[in-house]
């Protein structure tokens, strides 16, 4: 079952399934590491639905609206 990055729990490994954004933005997120089948973990909730995502040693902050469009599958 997939859910959005915004609603998934903290500290759980998950796999990116899909990014529902326009192609340019989807491509930029892929460039930043948000690629299908990549494993990530949400490590921090911020204001207005923003999330901090751990991807290996990298930390990426995404706003609430973007987080809602990143669909993941929990491990």
């Amino acid at each position: 079952m997939t859910e959005s990055l915004r609603t998934c729990p903290l500290g759980v490994d998950m796999e990116i399934c899909r990014i529902d954004l326009s192609s340019a933005y989807r491509f930029r997120l892929r460039e930043l590491g948000f690629r299908e089948h990549e494993r990530i973990r949400v490590i921090q909730k911020a204001n207005f639905g923003g999330r901090v995502v751990a991807h290996g040693t990298e930390r990426i902050a995404v706003d609430g609206a973007t987080a809602r469009h990143i669909l993941v599958q929990l491990h």
Binding site: A24, H55, T57, A61
Partner: protein
């Protein structure tokens, strides 16, 4: 507002929404791109035998690229706008034994597929497109804490086929996070590429980096003469677009080859961390733990506002006594010295001559004005460096993103706007922390509408002169008006010239927290301060001297018939007074068709601090230096202003005073901000900002008066 301000498209996607003429409309038809930044003589040298090699620094945002660049070049680096844009580019020439190299530091970019004007400038410089010199060596700045993003960009740079060196930063932080990444491992995984460990904060590794650059240049020369240059294997077989390629062609190439790069990146990252199958290390890092507090949905905002308050206090409260020292003590010393020299050379009578007045009231006044900006500018540069170097500024962008998005800006724009309520000048300087040039420009255009503390002195006198017990409320409403004007102008700009700023998703890498290095911080602050002083002082001093001339030239003999050049008893009898009188009727619809008021506004263009003094002078009222604004407003000055405004507004003095206060709030803050805008964004944008400020101030003043007189 202006063509220069236009994004040129919508949504900021791909190549739309970019300012990229790179000089085409600026008289540089044969010199485009960053090449326009280079001296003409050097350009010619590029086509001759003694060409100076160009070394371009390219890397992701927040990887320590500029710190490294400044550690290598020091004071010989200079910041300027890429031609035709407001994108900041740093360049400098390094002279070594038997070698001279030109260095260019490009804006941080995630990819050669540019989504913003800044990324486009970086892409063009890296590829030698749009008239840029072809880099003889590319220095790919590689963040060890962000190997995935760094490798992805590196894969594109490798495929350009140019000599390349990778400078690996933040290895110490990566090690602290438990990452096994090392230069040796990277060299093994990407054969044929020199990886050099560097730390721009203390200069470690910069000599090794320069050696590596020199070696690549030497190898390139030998290869040019004989065999092909040894290069790392290409990631994609699809050839990279050439120097004549458009940004669209580059973007197509990047996207067509992306999957191969993602695979290559994933393979190397997996090899770098063979024992970590999880998404991230199980134990939170120090930065993760700190972010739990600093990015907390509630505490994060409270802490951010507290930090902003501290920055505001630092630029105002700490700077104030230092400013007073320059303004009173240093001015006193210098004036005494000038008096002593004049008296010694030409006798005591020379102290009342116009050359003495020009030196003391013109040149010295200008120099002191410049010196009084050292404290607030120095303090803002220190605080900005601390916030940037510690890694907090990227968090600030995230914390305030939602609030600032209303006007199309990211959270980092909040800081300059807060600082603006103390002083507009350091606020403009702090826009440099905004990585996107369009956001930087828009924030810079909004800052003049933040009501700085200098304007407060004008509000106090007028509020106490006209609003009595409601003076406090009137002053408070000026700050409310300031915020409303910023929102209104921000929304207007966002829906017109800055449409491209509206809908980009927010996704940024958060650098690990680190302790700023004092030596690097000191060097950086000194360089920024020096750049400000050399860049803005000439226009400030020149304009103050011009103001002196205007007030020194008599247009009538005066009541006593003794006026002469440099000796005008009443300001009204000077050219300055004549200009003020001729300007005054313009303000009839705003209720203050009065030469005293327009003279004060002209003086206020130079600095708002002297508006009250100018009013006292024009009314020929001698107030004590110790008199507070409230005392002046309730005293003789207030009575004189009230009499003038009631007369000019036909009995609606309070409405005219409110209109005057709004005008003071909205028009050009001071000459120094104009000089700083010119330095950062160019003369055209500075001039148009001044024009827009005057128009907005005038419209608001007329509305306030016309509505106010009906109440």
């Amino acid at each position: 507002m202006a063509d220069d301000l236009a994004g040129g498209g919508t949504m900021g996607v791909g190549t739309a929404g970019m300012e990229h003429d790179m000089g085409n409309h600026h008289g540089h038809h044969h010199r485009r791109g960053l090449s326009v930044l280079l001296p003409i003589a050097r350009q010619h040298m590029h086509h001759q035998e003694e060409a100076v090699p160009t070394v371009a620094f390219v890397g992701n945002p927040n990887v320590g690229k500029s710190t490294l660049f400044n550690a290598i070049l020091g004071a010989s680096a200079s910041v300027m706008n890429a031609p035709g844009t407001t994108v900041l580019v740093e360049r400098g020439r390094l002279r070594r034994v038997n070698a001279t190299w030109d260095f260019v530091d490009t804006p941080g970019t995630a990819s050669l597929d540019a989504l913003s004007p800044d990324e486009r400038v970086a892409s063009e410089a890296a590829m030698g497109r749009a008239g840029n010199p072809q880099p003889d060596v590319i220095v790919a700045v590689f963040d060890a804490t962000s190997p995935s993003k760094s490798l992805y960009l590196l894969s594109q740079l490798i495929d350009l086929g140019r000599p390349i060196v990778a400078a690996v930063t933040m290895l110490d932080l990566a090690s602290r996070q438990g990452s096994p990444i090392s230069v040796a491992t990277l060299s093994r995984l990407v054969p044929g590429l020199d990886f050099v460990a560097v730390d721009g904060r203390d200069g470690k590794g910069t000599d090794d980096l320069l050696e590596a650059i020199g070696a690549r240049l030497a190898a390139k020369e030998q290869a040019d003469a004989a065999t092909a240059l040894r290069q790392p294997p290409r990631i994609s077989a699809v050839p990279a677009p050439g120097r004549a390629a458009s940004q669209e062609e580059v973007s197509s190439w990047v996207r067509a080859t992306a999957d191969q790069r993602f695979e290559w990146t994933a393979r190397i990252v997996a090899d770098l961390n063979p024992c970590t199958p999880d998404a991230a290390n199980p134990a939170p890092t120090f930065s993760d733990r700190l972010d739990r507090v600093l990015l907390h949905p509630v505490a994060g905002i409270a802490i951010f506002l507290a930090v902003m308050y501290l920055v505001f206090e630092a630029t105002t409260a700490i700077a104030a006594p230092i400013n007073d020292w320059f303004d009173v003590t240093v001015r006193g010393w210098a004036a005494t010295a000038i008096d002593w020299i004049f008296a010694g050379l030409a006798g005591p009578g020379s102290l009342s001559t116009w050359p003495h007045s020009l030196l003391v009231n013109g040149l010295l006044d200008g120099c002191i004005t410049v010196l009084t900006f050292i404290a607030p500018m120095g303090i803002i540069f220190i605080t900005l460096s601390l916030l940037e170097d510690s890694g907090y500024l990227a968090r600030a962008a995230f914390v305030m993103d939602k609030a600032m998005r209303v006007i199309g800006l990211d959270g980092r724009a909040f800081l300059p706007l807060v600082v603006g309520f103390g002083c507009n000048l350091p606020a403009l300087a702090s826009t440099r922390t905004l990585p996107d040039s369009r956001q930087r420009l828009m924030t810079g255009l909004l800052i003049p509408f933040t009501s700085c503390s200098a304007r407060l002195s004008v509000y106090i006198v007028l509020a106490y002169a006209f609003f009595g017990h409601y003076a406090g409320l009137a002053i408070f409403l000026m700050y409310v008006a300031s915020i409303l004007i910023i929102l209104g102008v921000g929304l207007l700009l966002r829906r017109t010239r800055f449409r491209d700023l509206t809908t980009q998703p927010f996704a940024i890498g958060l650098p690990p927290y680190q302790m700023p290095r004092l030596l690097q911080l000191g060097k950086s602050v000194a360089m920024r301060l020096w750049a400000f002083l050399t860049g803005a002082s000439s226009i400030i001093i020149t304009m103050i001297v011009i103001m002196w001339f205007l007030s020194a030239i008599p247009v009538s003999a005066g009541a006593a018939g003794t006026n002469s050049f440099g000796h005008v008893d009443d300001v009204h009898d000077s050219l300055y007074g004549a200009v003020a009188t001729s300007v005054a009727p313009i303000f009839t619809p705003a209720g203050f068709n009065d030469w005293h008021a327009s003279a004060a506004l002209i003086t206020g263009f130079v600095a708002k601090e002297v508006v009250v003094g100018s009013m006292s002078q024009s009314y020929q009222i001698h107030t004590s230096d110790d008199a507070s604004g409230q005392e002046q407003g309730q005293g003789t000055l207030g009575q004189a202003v009230r009499k003038s405004f009631i007369a000019s507004s036909h009995g609606h003095g309070a409405a005219a005073a409110a209109a005057f206060m709004i005008f003071v709030l909205a028009y050009t803050p001071c000459l120094a901000t104009v000089a700083e805008m010119r330095r950062q964004y160019g003369g055209k944008i500075a001039a148009r900002s001044v024009g827009a400020g005057l128009v907005i101030a005038y419209i608001l003043a007329v509305i306030v008066f016309q509505v106010g007189r009906l109440l």
